[in-house]
Symmetry: C2
Subunit: 408 residues, 2 copies
């Protein structure tokens, strides 16, 4: 008998019909001889509705009270799912984060899980119950309700799987697995049967929004077998996220291609080339809560240099304002920006043992006349910033060049 933790996101429980569908799915799993713990999110739209209410009563909602309000979203779903299970004759019991108890620190709206008391859940499972746990929430040592921040339901699932030593943690979502790239851009994109945690982290942070990064880190740390599946398909094995690299001889060099459309580039021209200049420019940007992605400092000419970096397009105006005041302060010549940037990244643990991956990437793009404006690399990833209009073309040709297209 296997112990499985299944997590269903907001879309999968988005209305009563879908909740009943999840109930049937879960019941089938139990009938097949498994013990099942289910983690659910709030019904889609519910968290946003509650946050909107909070913003209607307070200009800046107090975090402790925001958690009290927002945590009701998942509480409604656990109750509804258990009712639906009872209604088809299956024993089920719901738990809020406080009831489990999922102990967290007291950092309201972004709490971290410290400990989970798995004993009551094990007892319920042994008595034949399906146990349904509210995702995204916990309780601090003083009994205050906390939430883990957006996407925290994945983390709840993985943390429960770790605490219960579950055989597998299954994340049900609206896609049927992790793909080599977005199938809307490359119709030949292939679903991956397996992917490593490291690759998944790079793909997730680069915009393949299948899983919350934090939950993947958590799963990697506690060696939880994590699987991504579709909640809308009856069949399918999804994608298994593994600790070990696939030992298969045919392991491809590149596992997937991630991309992000909403990038913008800022360049400070004529910066005096002195130690500490990067901090003087990026410090105020960070203080303004703007996340910087790729950074390039050109070779110095005549004692000055050009300093470029990318930010989310939504942050461009704010960042430009910050830099205009920095410019005077450090004696730079000008600030210029380009808001039509995109980023493409190839990701794969195979890179480690294969030389020439970068040059193959650059050659492929050059052959299509796509100019590379910035480059950044990590051990298992190479990212380039290009003009946005070339984005789809770049992803398609790289997908083909690295042999990711579906076998004909």
């Amino acid at each position: 008998m296997a112990l499985i933790v299944q997590k269903y996101g907001g879309t999968s429980v988005g209305n009563p019909e879908r909740i009943k569908n999840v109930a049937r799915k879960v019941a089938k799993f139990q009938a097949a001889g498994n013990q099942v713990v289910v983690v659910v999110s709030a019904m889609s739209g519910e968290t946003n509705r509650l946050i909107a209410l909070a913003k209607d009563v307070a200009t800046s909602p107090e975090p402790r009270e925001l958690d009290v309000v927002v945590s009701t979203g998942e509480q409604v779903t656990i109750g509804l799912l258990c009712m639906a299970l009872h209604d088809i004759g299956v024993k089920a019991k719901s738990y809020t984060g406080a009831q489990v108890r999922i102990l967290t620190d007291s950092a309201h709206t972004k709490a971290r899980i410290l400990n989970i008391d798995e004993a009551p859940i094990k007892k319920d499972l042994d008595e034949g119950n399906i146990v349904v746990v509210a995702g995204f929430q916990g309780v601090d040592e003083h009994g205050n309700i906390t939430t883990l921040g957006r996407g925290g339901s994945d983390t709840t699932g993985v943390a429960l799987a770790a605490a219960l030593k579950a055989d597998e943690c299954q994340i049900y979502t609206d896609v049927d697995g992790v793909y080599t790239t977005d199938p809307r851009v490359v119709p030949e994109a292939r679903k991956l049967d397996t992917i490593t945690f490291e690759e998944m982290l790079e793909l997730a942070s680069l915009g393949s929004k299948v899983l919350q990064i934090r939950s993947v880190e958590f799963a990697g740390k506690y060696k939880v077998k994590l699987r991504v599946l579709s909640s809308f398909q009856e069949e399918g094995e999804g994608t298994l996220i593994t600790v070990e690299e696939d030992q298969n001889m045919e392991q491809p060099v590149i596992s997937g291609i991630a991309f992000n459309r909403d990038e913008a580039k800022l360049t400070v021209l004529g910066v005096p080339d002195k130690p500490g200049i990067a901090y003087q420019i990026l410090g105020p940007v960070a203080d303004a809560n703007i996340e910087v992605d790729m950074i390039i400092q050109n070779v110095s000419q005549d004692g000055t240099t050009d300093f470029s970096f990318t930010v989310s397009r939504g942050d461009l105006d704010k960042a430009t304002k910050v830099l205009e005041s920095v410019k005077a302060h450090i004696g730079a010549r000008a600030v210029v920006s380009d808001k039509t940037m995109a980023k493409v990244s190839i990701v794969g643990v195979g890179m480690r043992s294969h030389a020439g991956v970068a040059s193959q990437m650059f050659r492929t793009l050059a052959e299509e006349g796509i100019n590379i404006q910035m480059i950044s690399t990590s051990e298992i990833k190479i990212s380039v910033a290009i003009e946005e209009k070339y984005l789809e073309l770049a992803v398609r040709v790289l997908h083909k060049a690295f042999g990711l297209d579906v076998a004909a």
Copy 2:
């Protein structure tokens, strides 16, 4: 410094603007030198929305899980009200029923309060907080969320006032107090400054739906000073519900007139007049969960009698069916019904010491040609069943006859 428990119902917190209004009201009370504990209901419509969701996923929602779902309504309100208080610079802290802890039995959807741990609330009050508690909910000894049933927020308010030994429990609602009768029927109806618990119980059970009966019983038992006020008016003392009768010489005999429109009368004709016959008729009616109100058994003639009683009009069809099968069983002649009945009751503790109240009531109705079909009496109440079309006339003439009209 007084300790006040204030309860605001669903209409009073029905939208963000009203929640902000309650925050201002509560803050003003604290600024005037009081310690304030606030009990809130779910925003109006919210409980019904949650119950509808439950009925969408399960034909017969499991009670434990229904409580998990429905209790979120008040949880949202406590968080929103505390945020609104913080937003105007007032310290506030919210508590769910489980957090307080309001210990109840395990009778889900209709739990009874067993104990309240008042220590954490007192500590918060002493630290200058306004404490906001979710009405209508508690937690059983196993940590399961329970609810007290509809209208339970009033009971939470009174129970908290008793546990905290509060100086007063103020129930804010959409009326400004308890009236001698419904002002929509009698424009001359007067707001009462005080009323006894007993009178309030009779008026409440007879259709003046200002307060939940259970909370009034509770307040009477624990001698909590209870006051009904409007949440939409800045001024006004509302109506104080007292343990002692007003010692004022001018105390009127009658305090108020209650009425109920939706009554129906059933009569079983030609019932053999034998011991146990009332039980043989009413037993099956009770088994069908139909509440019987007034009951009359006529004087026996030739060994048979006619047996009449009233039920809610909505129960008439069901009750008729039950009686049809009872008829054959007990050998009665026929079952007839009248669905256009109404009930009018005069209520007052003054009745105890004044003879002739009943005869004055009957004479007043007779003078208007209103036929009395049934009569029932208690120590402080006389009820009559009449044809519905005479209802307004009856209430008006009785209101005037017993001196309840506003002094000109």
